[in-house]
């Protein structure tokens, strides 16, 4: 079934101050904010599309493009940085052929670079969906990604 953003939008009063809340809600339930949803919301709230687009591109939590099936967070916080998260990040991005914030061609992975995942003792850390992978190395990155590709991880 296709995503019904109308329903989400109509769940909110027609007031400008709900713009962000509605966008967050759409993001949460759909993984990204479709262009049509923005246009519909613009009609609903009587707000220019440009204003909504401005908000949608400002907040990191909101995304304009579909996210991958798996969200990979690479930490580049202080502890992870010192323990070599840079090379891990590069390896990962090269493996998937994307830049931070993008989604791999097969739609399987999105990569986000974040600052500290609160697991510094495990540095360098990569989190996939809700699973933590600590003490990462270049080789480990590859084998973990392969596991997901072959759908050997279930969470």
């Amino acid at each position: 079934m296709s995503f019904v953003y109308e329903e989400i939008i109509h769940g909110y009063p027609k007031e400008k101050r709900y713009t962000l809340a509605i966008l967050q809600d759409i993001q949460k339930r759909n993984g990204f904010i479709p262009r049509e949803a923005m246009e519909y919301l613009s009609q609903y709230l009587g707000l220019p599309v440009s204003n909504i687009y401005s908000i949608a591109t400002f907040y990191k939590a909101l995304s304009l493009k579909p996210k991958g099936k798996h969200i990979i967070k690479v930490c580049s916080g202080t502890a992870c940085h010192i323990r070599g998260s840079g090379t891990i990040k590069e390896e990962l991005l090269e493996l998937l052929g994307i830049k931070p914030g993008e989604t791999s061609e097969d739609g399987l992975f999105s990569v986000e670079v974040v600052n500290c995942l609160g697991a510094c003792a495990l540095a360098p850390v990569v989190v996939i969906d809700d699973k933590y992978y600590g003490n990462m190395t270049k080789d480990k990155v590859k084998s973990v990604i392969d596991q997901y590709k072959e759908e050997r991880v279930h969470g």
Partner: protein, 249 residues
Amino acid sequence: MKLKIDGIICEGREGETLMEVAKRHGIHIPSLCYRKGFEGLARCRLCLVEVKEGSRRRIVSSCVYPIKENIEVTVTTDEIQRMRKNIIMLLLLKAPNNSYINKLAEEYKVAAPERYMNPLDDENCILCGLCVKACEKMGTNAISFVNRGIYKKVSTPYDDASKDCIGCGACAEVCPTNAILVEDNEGKRKIWNREFNMVKCSLCGSYFATEEAYKLMQEKLNDNEEPICNECRKKIAADKLKESFANIY
């Protein structure tokens, strides 16, 4: 109420900003993002001045500072001059090849540290927001700030040819650094990735507005006359004036 700017006694109304009062009294305060009719942005901070209230001194942005009775304002102190130089240096890094910013830098004897300079950078926008405000007030809210941090820019949604844009050019008109590209060519105008057909003045025959902008203006003014450009309008007004004078004398 009365206040002093650079020793000159000025008169202002409650709610007026320092910038407005200074302007009316012919006192110059440097600014980039202040423009009558589009006040309140306070983004460039070139308009910093020192305000002395009793024994308290502070530095404020004059374009948004509401005047108070008996304050004493100094437009430029050593400290403020230093701050303005810093701001201009940052602007220069943002738009290193912009002629207006370069002129400003020259005037203030500012050079940006070379290691941060990208001589190939062709950015002209300093993100003052005047164009967004102009589009909101005179146009159709077609443009807005997009993204954040170092990726922040002014654009239409998805950088597309905007459905809302009417090609009025108000944004380009107010831009202090001439950052918005408008190409007028043989009855067509290109702006914000969209092409518009233009309307000819029924008197002089020059293209003067896009069809969409002209239509909106007509709707707003409720008029159905033949299209007449600004120049010709002015001429007509002047001629009428002359006529009425001729009738008096």
